[in-house]
Amino acid sequence: MSTPLKFYQVGSFAVGNRLLGDEQLSVQSRSDRTNSLTSGHRACQGCGEALGARYVMDAAMAATDGKVIAVNATGCLEVFSTPYPETSWRLPWMHSLFGNAAPVATGVAFALKAQGRSDIRVVAQGGDGGTVDIGFGPLSGMFERNDDVLYVCYDNEAYMNTGVQRSGATPPAARTNTTHAVGENPGASFTQGKNLPKIAMAHGIPYVATASVSDLHDLEEKVTKAMSMHGARYLHVLVPCPLGWGTKSEETIKLARLATESGLFPIYEAENGVITETKKIRKQVPVDEYLQIQKRFAHLFGPKGNPEIVKAIQAIADRNIAEYELLGERQ
């Protein structure tokens, strides 16, 4: 195609599938999609993780001719999808513990190798708590060994399943039930944070990417690409959580988009430890726009607000923009 299509829905930048050629259709829009995470589960309205997981798994299934084994960490995704006997998974799926999705997936991968089943592929998935905190050591081991697993982290920036407590992925100043918005330094403290995509890249694994539920085409493409490769691969997906973030159910996609457009959540992919592609910001927004509509940041605004903290968060976004070169012409 010589001229890329540029018909966008007003305000969302999402392109309607009906305007796309067959080869550009998303997996999700196809009638033969697998519905790997099928309807009827118990996720909250507007759950970013449910949306992300559905797209990830269907794309992985499409890329492997329906031969995926999924391993799940404990967390919202596991709980809302499998209260017996109502499993929503229409693919072989296993849950063991909170911190061991990566090594269980490794075990699956090695069993398949021993059995000579190179056609069956393994995807592990977990939330940010299961990934950056309790499952971090085993995940690093999986990276270091370059086990043949795609690990997907659905990052909603706190322990939502247990009722919104701080994780290593909770952003500075965010209010959670263990970082209350009271006292001298309200909300989560400004720490070094734990940038897992970067840490994954430092392992030099074949593929690392970040993605967001605000760009589901991109998410699908990244899953498809990851499934075409072997070895340890890592995909970090930002998935807003209406419950934990204090946001409207219908604004999940908007929030995910603002996180990216503000520079707080850069979207990129890397191969063998080197960034190969960065998604430029389409229309830069100040972090206020993203933060203001979330109750977890409510203490930063209004008469008793804290503009200094907002400034510090803006500085983080600015650093990301500079580091990942997020401004400029989109390809």
Partner: protein
Amino acid sequence: MLQQIEGSKAVAETIAACMPDVVCAYPISPQTHIVEALDELTRLGKIGNCQFVNVESEFSAMSVAIGASATGARTYTATASQGLLFMVEPVYNASGLGLPIVMTVANRAIGSPINIWNDQSDSMSQRDSGWIQLYAQDNQSAADLHILAFRLAEELSLPVMVCMDGFILTHAMEEIDVAEKELVTKYLPKFTPRQVLDPVDPVSIGAMVGPEAFTEVKYLGHFKQLKALEIIPELSSEFEEVFGRPAAGPDNYKGLVTKYHLEDAEVVLVALGSVLGTIKDAVDNHRKNGVKVGAMGITSFRPFPLDEVRKSLKHAQKIVVVERAFAPGIGGIVSSNIRTALSGIDIKINTVVAGLGGRPITLKSISELVDRALYGTLPDFSFMDLDVELVERELERNLLTRRSGPMAENLLKDLGTR
């Protein structure tokens, strides 16, 4: 074929003969020689297409085993001591999921104080984890029990721990008949999993279970353990037919317990593991002097063979349980199980904690136990060869000053300056 071989090596070669698909391990003394040998055997292609996975922790070792087993792979790992504790969460998970993993526990003490030497505190801590636990009395049985363990695990879809005393067995050279692969293949059929992750027939394994069925899942775990009490004797006699020797070693009875001169024994010593060798020597010596002493070993500690223990011990007058672990705050672990087996029968049971952290259990000390049991001077609960003076000095220090310092360091200082 008989060969002079280290216990660990014999176990590794036996595991290789069982043709596992996945072996995953994290090194910890005294388990290391087993997994080192398995790495080499895998690389040399002696175990078919077996995959050896070097993991970064015991937590991951058991997790890899869980994933592999759920994918239909025959799976093995080995650990000890702190390593077993580090993997406790997936250990319980494996039994709850009903995955037939076989694991060697090279029994070692648990810190603090850190101690690499043998006792059985590690596996005893997991007695209620839902795993079957078999204890080897010598290296021949340590090797052979692994073959039976795979058969049993896969028959019941339940994981099995084979416990062998660290160093005393793992590092001891003995004459062992390492099972030949042809015979093992005859005894141990191809693994057909009850549940398997398979794109052709997708299932959800490890889903959430609420109050409506949790009790039932747990009951079935218990039921399978009790079923093992029926199956172990069958598998044991079949083992004997195929290999020409019992899997559980000499004096074995149905693969569940061992009985040594129990017929007319007035005093019976009960123990698990390698100390049975020393105990049998003590029995022989006393028998020469006309003292009616016997010994009972427990091979299957989980499930606990209540009936066999009751039948074996009910005519005894005095029972001395020699334990390589204990439950602080109450006393014996094995002895409380023996008491359950003998409930309603009035027999004096003494608990003696022995061999903690590698302290040798000598023939002399065991013989003294028998004498004291006979004379009735043995306390209900005691520690064999306890250095009373050392303990008293520390207790005195505790009384004298609040900030008495680290206990272990104090004791070692006392020992050095005595």
